[in-house]
Each structure stands twice: as C-alpha cells, then as structure tokens.
Subunit: 413 residues, 2 copies
C-alpha cells in the first residue's frame, strides 16, 4: 500500500450493497505487513457455484493450483485471500500450506476443505506459514458481515494505492440481482490471464459451467486487455461466485449459457469486469496517466491485439507518455516490432482527435502545440490505423514513470 493515491483513482467509490448469501470479514494475520489487514475471509451459503480464470504462467503459485482443483467441481463455500506472501515457488511446502489453510478455513466455517478457494498475493519464494491463519480464521468466522466491501478490497491490496470496487444491479428474468466485484493490481500485470486478483459475487442462480463460459468470454476484452509492464504474475486469479439466493425471490435458475434471460446479466458482468480492469490500469505502479490504445484496420482482431500490446508494453512509448511527449515515432517502432502485418506507408496515428501521422509520414496539418496540450491530460487516447483490414482492438495501460522504478527497485527489501 502506497501512501500516495494514484492521481488516476476514481473520484467516487461506489456504494456497494450486500450480495445475499455472501458474508465476509477481514483480519490482520501479520503475514508481512504490520498494522493493516492482510486476510480476507468470505463465506458462501450452501449451493454457491464458482468459476475461475487463472494465470497462464508455467510456474503458477500453489494457491492457483489449489483453485484449479476446486474449480473442477464448481462448488464454493469459502474464500480465503491473503496479501503479503504469494505462496509461489514454494515447492512442497507451498502445497502443504494451501492444504492446511483450506483445512483451517473449513474447520472455522463448517464446510469441506475441497470447497475452499484460496488466493495469495505478495512476495514470491518465501514459505507461507499457514499456522498464522489458525486462530485468526476461527475468530473471523464469528464476525461475518455483508456490507463493508471497501474493507474487503483493502485487505487484498499490496502496492495498490486505492481499493478497487464495482457493483451492478441487473434483471435476471424479471428479478433484480446484484453483482459486486473487487480487484487488486498493480504491477506484474499482463494478460495471460489478467490482473493479479479479482473476485466477483452475485446472488443469481447460475450453474457453474454457465458461469465459466460467462467469465472466460468476459475476461477477453477486460482483464486480458490490460497490461502494466508485460510481466505475468504466477498468481493471477479471477473468481466468480454465484450464491443462487435470488432464486428465493423468483429468479430463474440458469443452466444454459445460451439462455436468453442471461443477456442483460452477461452485459452487466462484462461492464463490471471492464470497470475493475480499468481501475487496475489506473493504479499501475507509478502511473500518472492512463493510456488507451485503439488499433484499427488490422488484418484481424488477434493481430490488432498483438500490435496494441506491442505498443502498450514498449518502455519507449510508455516513458514518452510519462514525459507528455506525443512521440509517434516510437509508436511506429512498436508497430514495426510486433511482427504482425503492417505497411508503413498506410499507417495513421492519432493522439486524441489529433492525427499526427498519415500515409507513412508526419501529417502535414499536425499542430505540435495542440498535441502537446493534449498530452497533459490524465487519460491519453492513442489510435493507430493500419489501413489493411477490419480487425480492431483496444488495450489499456499506463505510463512508465520513475516511481515505477522506485516501487520495484525497493519492494522486497
């Protein structure tokens, strides 16, 4: 947790209603941080379904491997998240630590350990002492609440400068249901899959396999379209829980992803994921500017995504944005190195509405003063048109500042 809040933080923290069937609390287990909460304990009513997307890293953390097992059955009764230690690259000890944590949680919350989801974030390679959860989880189980979502979002922060929350009310059939989500960033964020940790909760009654389809699709243009530094965490975890409690109010039970009653819910879920993903980009380590990169005219959406990511991950583009320099030459460089079809002489580049390059050269009408003024904005829109086809995509990132180096050059010690 940084003492300086990102200037890109949303001005308003949403007012989060309870999600029927979800209780939670936070605790301080002293895993790494002192004087702050570092554990989030969540309890779900019986019948809660769960879906998840986890990191594509070939060296995943122990909790990621644990979740993958639990997700196979799609049933959830509890979630335990800790910050301060990622329990990643901890070998056999790490696996034992996850098993013990799940057992402690199961005993405290009166459920099976195979229905406990786990997530850890923080330092890699340090053994996580699960016994630290022992009294803490039992004590926490006695004071579950359903309203202080901001505390939940705070408990999972590491180098984040603000808690990330989003909420939506939507009709399922003709019954209103709630979707609440929390997330944490803020470095080591690149797609494959997503950001580090995000958890979304609804009282809608949706079968686990349908939830999984909704989530897998929903992540593509949201969390997977955000990159801070191109570094993919070993711990990336996005979980979606559905308690099904709205069924008692007449909400239909959804067992088929093609069910037309799901349309509004699907859209609301995607909007909520997009909102959380953008908050992650807005809290990129050291970020002073949000950079939205739109690539049009590529040969395919996939090609557009790769080119957008090549731009978004270019240190030279990111430092130029930090310096408020509309250095489109570096954008050309990043397009050129992406390895995707591109024709220099068809390329157009705009910052905001100002087209700075066109047909492979500087735009003759390009007004340096206007673009310099534009670059002072907090949010910078960069549009690249390749002029080749109809593939387009959008990626979010932030600038690369000295603060990023400060944060990451002095994080562990």
């Amino acid at each position: 947790m940084s003492s300086t809040i990102s200037p890109l933080a949303p001005k308003i923290v949403p007012d989060m209603p309870p999600v029927p069937g979800v209780g939670f609390t936070t605790a301080a287990a002293g895993i790494r941080y002192q004087g702050r909460t570092d554990v989030l304990v969540m309890s779900f009513v019986p019948g809660t379904t769960v879906a998840g997307v986890t990191t594509r890293s070939l060296c995943p953390s122990a909790p990621v491997e644990w979740c993958r097992e639990v997700l196979k059955k799609g049933k959830a009764r509890a979630l335990v998240v800790n910050s301060g230690n990622a329990n990643a690259f901890t070998g056999k000890t790490g696996r034992e630590s996850t098993r013990l944590t799940a057992q402690i949680a199961a005993a405290a919350l009166l459920c099976k350990s195979s229905e406990v989801l786990l997530a850890s974030t923080g330092v890699i390679g340090e053994p996580l002492d699960a016994t630290k959860f022992d009294g803490v989880l039992t004590e926490a189980a006695g004071r579950l609440i359903d309203w202080a979502w901001i505390d939940a979002a705070r408990a999972i922060m590491t180098t984040d400068t603000f808690p990330k929350l989003a909420t939506a009310q939507v009709l399922l059939g003709d019954v209103p249901v709630t979707i609440n989500g929390i997330a944490k960033g803020a470095g080591m964020i690149a797609p494959d899959m997503a950001t580090m940790l995000s958890f979304v909760f609804t009282d809608a009654p949706i079968a686990a396999d349908v939830l999984q389809k909704l989530l897998s699709k929903g992540v593509k243009n949201t969390f997977n379209a955000v990159t801070i530094d191109g570094d993919t965490s070993t711990s990336d975890t996005l979980l979606l829980f559905a308690t099904g409690v709205a069924k008692s109010r007449g909400a239909p039970v959804i067992k088929d992803a093609a069910d037309p009653r799901l349309t509004a819910f699907r859209r609301a879920l995607e909007d909520l994921l997009a909102d959380l993903a953008e908050q992650v980009a807005r809290d990129g380590e050291g970020a002073r500017k949000l950079l939205r990169i739109q690539v049009n005219g590529a040969v395919s959406k996939k090609s557009a995504r790769r080119i957008a990511m090549s731009i978004a991950n270019s240190p030279l583009v990111k430092t130029a944005v930090a310096g408020e320099d509309a250095n489109w030459g570096r954008v050309v460089m990043a397009v050129g190195k992406a390895g995707e079809p591109a024709d220099r002489d068809l390329l157009s580049i705009s910052f905001g509405d100002i087209r700075v390059a066109h047909d492979g050269a500087r735009d003759p009408d390009y007004d340096e003063a206007a673009v310099s003024a534009y670059m002072k904005n907090d949010v910078v829109d960069l549009t690249v048109d390749l002029g080749l086809g109809r593939g387009s995509d959008r990626v979010l990132t932030c600038d690369l500042t000295k603060e990023y180096v400060t944060i990451n050059g002095d994080y562990r010690s």
Copy 2:
C-alpha cells in the same frame, strides 16, 4: 550524448590501427545537435565488398531500405552515417532524401551512388533535409584520414555516453589482417536484429557472399543476444566491409565460407562483434549494472534464448537488479511467462556462484547477506537451470533505472 559516462564503460579505449583501404572523416552538419560532429563519411578503395544485417522491423527506415538494395550487389565505395535524425517514417520524402544523400556522397567521393551505404540514427518521423550534406560531404572528402577511429565512433553517438570501438589482428592464411569495428547504442535495442548501428571494417579479401555468411552467423550470439528494453529500432544496421587490400601483401582471396583459412578470422570477427555488443549493453540508457543471463537445461537453444529474453526484458527483474535485490521470485515469474517448457519443481536459480533457489523452492543453504553483497557488483551473473534438457544460451542486458525514464521521458522535446 550524455554528460555522465556510464559507470560500466570499458576502462581502456583500444588503440585502433588503420584498416588499409579505408579513409574517413567526421563533420558537423547541424542536423539536430549543435557544437558536435554528427556525420561520419567513409571512403573505400575500389573492389571493397560489403555484407549487412538490418532490422526485422516491419516499418524500417528509409536508409535501411536503401542499404538492402545496395547489399544485393555487395559492392561498397562509401558509407555516410548521420546522427540526430533517423529518416524513419518519413514516407516518400525519406526515400528521396536517401537518394539525394547518396548522390551527394557519390559526387564528393567520385563513385556510383549505388555503391554508397547509408545509415541514420536519431529522431523518427522528422524529414531529413539531405541538402544539409551538400557542401559538407565535398569538404569532408578533401580531408580523409585513417587513424582517428574514436572520432568516427563519436560522430554516430546519440544518447550513448561513450564511444564504442574494438579491434583485432588475425592471420588470414599466414598474412596478418586487421578488423576494426565501431558501434552505437543505447536505447531501443532489442534483437531482431541487433543494436542500432555498427560498422566493421577489414582489409581481408573476402567475397561479399562469404562476408554475408560470416556476419549472419556472427550476429546470432552477439548483437542478437543483447536487449536493453525490448524495443526494436526501425534503423538497426550492421555492416561489414572488406577492402581486400591485404591481397597485395599476399593474403588469400576467400571465395568460399567453408575455406579452412577462414577459421581464425571467423573467430576473431565473432569476438569483436561480442565485444561491441557487450559495450552496447554496458551503455544501455541509464544502465548502472550489466546483467548477464545464462539459461541452461532448456529443451533447446531456441527455448533457452526465449526464456533468457523473457527474463532480460522483464521490467520487474530489471528494476530489482537496479535495486540490488536478488529477487529470484521475479525470475521465476519471467520464466513462467516465457511460454517455453519449464517445470517449476526442477528450477534452479543462481546469482553469481550463490544458488538461491533449487528444485522449485528457496535453497535451504541460501545466505541472504552473501547474495546482497554480490548484488552490489557492476556486473551481475544470473544463471537459471531448467533441468529439462541440454539447451543453453546467454543474453546480455542492463538494469532499469530512474535514469532510463528520465532519458526517454525527455528525449525529443
């Protein structure tokens, strides 16, 4: 050119002998910089052969496209290099600018413009006014010399903090020949192909197609194994010139790359390319530490290279090295995101001779104090063993410091 020389600069500048058949001089054309030389003009005797490797960027600069044409014939009489403007993404104007520059050089040096090689480095997207070369090249042609190589290396610098030179004497058959090389870095450096600009000269009589084979092979483990920031320039150019003048002293004319008389020359050339490439890494923008990444035990050399590059381009690894933090957790992360075969539980990681991780977890004998002391070195060796196969490779990079952000956040304006 920075006012502060990289602390990683070589302590000794080599004493460069003349290369018979090569004359050169530098000039100040005022292209971008004031009060310094920004043009290097080189003249070669008739019969000089040339080979080259250029950027794999799909948006190459106009001089790169020009060189590719000249290289098809493999004959060189002149080389004109300017710093301050890359003549990249300058459209039709850029192409005309290269043609005009070559014509001016050909008139000044009394050769065909189709035998003039060109290279430009500096800002992208600004038109390069070739008429600036007009009087300058004619005047320069009247004062060619063969000894002040350090001036040649200085004239091509942009954000470099020191000139980069290397020299070797080697026997071709039983006749000693000379190889001299110069290079410039220092940002926007990633493989595909190489660094920005490097030029190598020999008096050995070697046919153009043989030179090309030597160079294409030589670049793989030298310039192509260096990355500063993962950003590939639109202008990367490495040229190798052979005047053939040593023939008059009895050196054999080499027309076959398999000629056994080439063995020593080939080795000396690779060593010289490696030397120049390391100097480029040592002058990475803002670099305070040289990071040598050795990956062993991969399934193939190609896989080892990709994993080494994933580590070398990771902002989190590079900032950790800047912070003198042996943060091997981030190394695990970078291995995991490379997408190459890796088994977390077989992974070993060492800094210098100190093994910090073994069999997928922290090494039990790992001494934090010893590794902290090691990280204070200027040169940091990081070794990753995957334990899977026999593929190994080495890549050079530097740390990511606040100075990198300063240099690149305020370069153009």
